[in-house]
Assembly symmetry: C2
Homo-oligomer: 148 residues x 2
DNA sequence: ATTAAATAGTTAAACAATTGAACTATTTCG
DNA sequence: CGAAATAGTTCAATTGTTTAACTATTTAAT
């Protein structure tokens, strides 16, 4: 293995886990009663409008039963609702409740503010480049999973 | 809030969680019997040679009791050992056992190989830039926590 | 048209990661 | 000395996760 690649890997492994952990810890302060993971599920459902357990399991790369447990908690908290699909009665359609929508709008405001205070310490060019590469990585990982 | 910053934040939130989740899922395949989180703790202890619970709790931004639980599991698995500090008898010195060292060497080989197949789809310049920005973020997050 | 296979989701048992509060043991310092 | 600070553990509770077995429904092959 090439020497420089090896150093990249070492640096990447060291830094990526830390940023995720510390980022989650900071974010948690803004997420009253909802966990970090639950926040991302709510975000995803909001963006899609309606979605299924199977889709969530695919996107977040976990088993469907993990999604069942998670959505149970979100239903209990009044953030999402389970609906029916008339075309295929096996399907449960997940969507945000009014309360869920309100909570998310309010929380996004706080989270955006937090992320902004961090991002504005970098130049626009640097952020743009960073996110572009991040998006490439996401695409590569998705393709790798599809191959399996 | 500036329009472009807002878009950056949206893209960053969407992509960062996914890459972490999917990356962890892929990595899991290489980590026989050890979890993703445990792997990073072993890596950290290895890099430091010897370290304490308090240090781990600070670095990974969790409570000390989370570290106690985790190190208990790693001790049970024979990967780390608890030692004594002669100067200060409150301190427990954590270090890798021989078995832990061997496991880590073998696993790093596999993990590096995995990360390499992903990284080599990007240019050296792009990787370098990406990791540099990542390291800046880590530093910013650390400073924010120290202020609190 | 009937039946076998595939798909969507749930349940239950088990484990890992985490928090928070209460606790022990040790050290530091006014 | 005695109070405060520090290092770590314990315990109860919650969350996220996997795996295997399960129900209900749809698709597809003969």
């Amino acid at each position: 293995m090439e020497r420089s690649i090896q150093q990249f890997i070492e640096r990447y492994l060291s830094v990526s886990f830390l940023v995720h952990k510390r980022g989650a810890a900071l974010m948690k302060c803004e997420l009253d009663d909802i966990t970090h993971d639950q926040y991302y599920v709510l975000r995803y459902i909001c963006k899609r409008g309606v979605c299924t357990s199977t889709e969530l399991a695919d996107v977040f790369a976990v088993n469907k039963s993990a999604i069942t447990a998670m959505t149970n908690r979100l239903v209990e908290k009044g953030m999402i609702a389970r609906g029916k699909d008339e075309d295929d009665r096996r399907i449960i359609a997940l969507s945000l409740t009014e309360r869920g929508k309100e909570w998310l709008v309010e929380t996004e405001r706080k989270v955006y503010q937090l992320v902004e205070t961090i991002m504005t310490k970098l130049s626009h060019e640097e952020i743009e480049q960073f996110i572009q590469t991040y998006e490439k990585l996401a695409k590569i990982l998705q393709e790798m999973e599809e191959k399996k």
